[in-house]
Symmetry: C3
Amino acid sequence: MLDILWLLLCTSLVFLMQAGFMCLESGLTRSKNSINVAVKNIADFGLSVALFWALGYGVMFGSSWLGWLGTSSFMPNRDDPQTAILFLFQAMFCGTATTIISGALAERLKFTVYLAIAAWVSGLIYPLFGHWAWNEGGWLAQLGFHDFAGSTVVHGVGAWVSLAALPIVGARRDRFSMEHINPIQGSNLPFSVLGCLLLWFGWIGFNGGSTLALNDQVPGIVLNTMMAGVAGMITAALWSWVQQRHVEVGFLINGSIAGLVAITAGCDSFDTPIALVVGATGAAVMILTAQRLARLKIDDAVDAVAVHGAAGAWGTVSVGLFGAEIDNRLAQVGVQALGIGVSLVWAFGATWIILSLAQRFVSLRVSEADEAIGLNVAELAG
Amino acid sequence: MLDILWLLLCTSLVFLMQAGFMCLESGLTRSKNSINVAVKNIADFGLSVALFWALGYGVMFGSSWLGWLGTSSFMPNRDDPQTAILFLFQAMFCGTATTIISGALAERLKFTVYLAIAAWVSGLIYPLFGHWAWNEGGWLAQLGFHDFAGSTVVHGVGAWVSLAALPIVGARRDRFSMEHINPIQGSNLPFSVLGCLLLWFGWIGFNGGSTLALNDQVPGIVLNTMMAGVAGMITAALWSWVQQRHVEVGFLINGSIAGLVAITAGCDSFDTPIALVVGATGAAVMILTAQRLARLKIDDAVDAVAVHGAAGAWGTVSVGLFGAEIDNRLAQVGVQALGIGVSLVWAFGATWIILSLAQRFVSLRVSEADEAIGLNVAELAG
Amino acid sequence: MLDILWLLLCTSLVFLMQAGFMCLESGLTRSKNSINVAVKNIADFGLSVALFWALGYGVMFGSSWLGWLGTSSFMPNRDDPQTAILFLFQAMFCGTATTIISGALAERLKFTVYLAIAAWVSGLIYPLFGHWAWNEGGWLAQLGFHDFAGSTVVHGVGAWVSLAALPIVGARRDRFSMEHINPIQGSNLPFSVLGCLLLWFGWIGFNGGSTLALNDQVPGIVLNTMMAGVAGMITAALWSWVQQRHVEVGFLINGSIAGLVAITAGCDSFDTPIALVVGATGAAVMILTAQRLARLKIDDAVDAVAVHGAAGAWGTVSVGLFGAEIDNRLAQVGVQALGIGVSLVWAFGATWIILSLAQRFVSLRVSEADEAIGLNVAELAG
């Protein structure tokens, strides 16, 4: 029962990450779009949990068909407490992977198209890759791929789907002008800071619960998680200070989250000083990626690809580089890179194909006029 | 100790529902009233917990006098850990029942009158009905009335008191004009979405803790709770889409909460697919009720009567209709209906009488001028 | 493992107090400074946890050198679960002590100077005083000083540092004019109410976890905590009503927090009716202090000194006055007063000296022009 209590607590904590993403993204976008962003953040939760219940949980954690696909445990019922709690905990993860996308594509993506992408991720992309990596019979798991709580499985997948959609959907119209990158001010940055702290709060459960049991490892996992977030924040703050002579709030927020994303794959296998290094370097990787993407005129409204994708990939590789119990580092780095590569091919590739096809038939983004008015009014009355 | 830990966790979760209601209601009201709403939401918590400690807990859970009234356990002290934790958990429920009223009557009810109503509910109405339904010696409990975590006991009672007060206090002056129903825009809808998510977070404890112990039922209860909220949200979203060609944020929020309210009575007795049905139909009942009340020119500022009263009543009846362990469905439906009827007579009836009398002597609502300026300024400086 | 689970839960709860302080302070300050305040609140968390990991935890809880200084347990690693969880829980306390200062000095203190003060507190002032009072070998602990969860150790220390800095840094330029005290309106009071509720939520863990184990005392401790907050709120509300004929939101918020601060020292040693008295009188002490400080033209932007310092000192003394297991009340009151005196000499005195010296070389506050523009723009772009 102690394990069940621990997972119930962790489920609750991870549930609150939905509120965290909502606050973060709503505050980072302009007030003319902030309600629309909030609505996407809550609607996707309903959709993804429903799909994960009907389909995804079974595909991901059901008995494996040749390592590729789960074939049991669909529609968990209350009469099996063990499955009920595992489903609840994992459903929050599916919701997390999905909601990452709403931030990246904020302020231009059509609501209905967003829901379609959310269904695509939570019904297909996430559970299948999750099966490969996290089902004990999954083929990546069998190869020794180690992604403890989902730097790649959860955060990477959400980021790669975003990355595929971003160039197809295109940048916000005010974002790039000729040679310039125009910063777009958030409407409510204290709300975003609240979001960051709620995410951090949830991460205690995200990583701490991924043992699926309350054992001696848990305090160390939470310790590593906390310190990596701290190291990410400090690194980003220093970077901001050196580069701009002030500490930008976006750096503090995204630095913290990048540190947390980076540690997620190996929070169970690093000594704590290493966890600090992984968090700090995760933040650096995030900043470099965000700046690179901006120069490439890829307009990620909250730098979600950099935070969840790049820092997550780095964290996944770092398990091979620095993990305490790794025998053959080179081989492990190879497996880790393979896992990342597969997640890219699958989540980025399949999404890119489907959206490229889809845009021949439907418009993925709102009209120019609607974008100018703002999506609060154009798409949704309050 | 495991049970105590579980109840401490659930108490904490349910406590945060106070923050949930505050964010929800403050965001759904106009900025000229949003602080006033927030103040009511925090002040009523202090008042209701104080009264529940002094009086209500004993009335509700003390040894029963003929099934009508508790006569012991007043003013719980720290030297009895068992009573301390039960009081804490139940005090949060009393606070929930009370705070529902602040939203329904927002933007016009006098602060002092609101406090008087809050005292009336938490000192008298709620504990007495609670005794009848939840004390093991209570007369409704003895008849077999089943309201597991309070669809009627908590949510219904708060809603019926609101329903009695609404026509007496009257609509906001801008709400209805001749034939028209004028929608009143909330001031901060992302804040309301945060409130909805905090309520949802709290509901894990609200329903999960109502076992008063950590047993094998708990994961299933939380599963049913989560899925009913999801089903309520999806139903309301589809309804909004079909009726208005867009998904209104109010539908998403209130649909989720209505699903959660509806499942509260029977989260321990439905199979999970049934929980989805109860959540979905709960949202439908909520929408039909909200639209009916608006046509009747009853101006519920946050649709609290529809969300907590109508969906709660439906959820209470559905225990008889769909509960897994019900032998005689007809008889059980009868008892459930009786319980709802009693809650109506008592909470609605007694409140209606007392407020009808009271309004002969004092004005229940703020002056027209104050309503125009807004209650932030008129009633309370920051 | 049950104790570890309890501490993990409490750590999570106390972590969220960071969000509580951020919302509270950001909402109570003007919008031109609200982002700056939020940034200080998150940046100091990173800094203080990093320093507490590297240095402070060992200084505070390492094996004692003559009762003055810890000399072991620096840089806790994941391989020692017991130390990991104790560090995590205590790191949140260090973060709390530090973040109090950001509110008091809001809207004028330079960001870099604030970070320096935060480092000063979390690296030196807090861990050393914490060692004296909370290390079992600490000299104040040996004398019998009883401050269960930190009315003085955490809240007092944060407040005294603020009190030392306030007159040196000076008042906000709009605050006092000739004979008048100009109230400065908060920008987002519902956000502050949310902050207050998040703090209250966190306090369940703050006091409840300070047993460092889940035992029979815990429910009573949480009960006392909850009731003292309620009593503080009601007292402040009545005070506001009597003095101003309306209930000001600031009184509700600060009354609640003052009640919680006051009970923190003795939540383990009062019977519950006494806890109500301590909470109520704590709020009264807070109000009198806040009004006195304002008359002295000491401009505490959120009344942090009154809330955390004065109510905390009163709560610390009240352990001697009303604690249930005290043999020699006079002697205990003396020890309690000694502890408070030492905290004042150390936290106030040392800070006053260092800042007095520092201001000869650097400017501690932003320029007049920057203060007029607001610190959001002047110090930090979003």
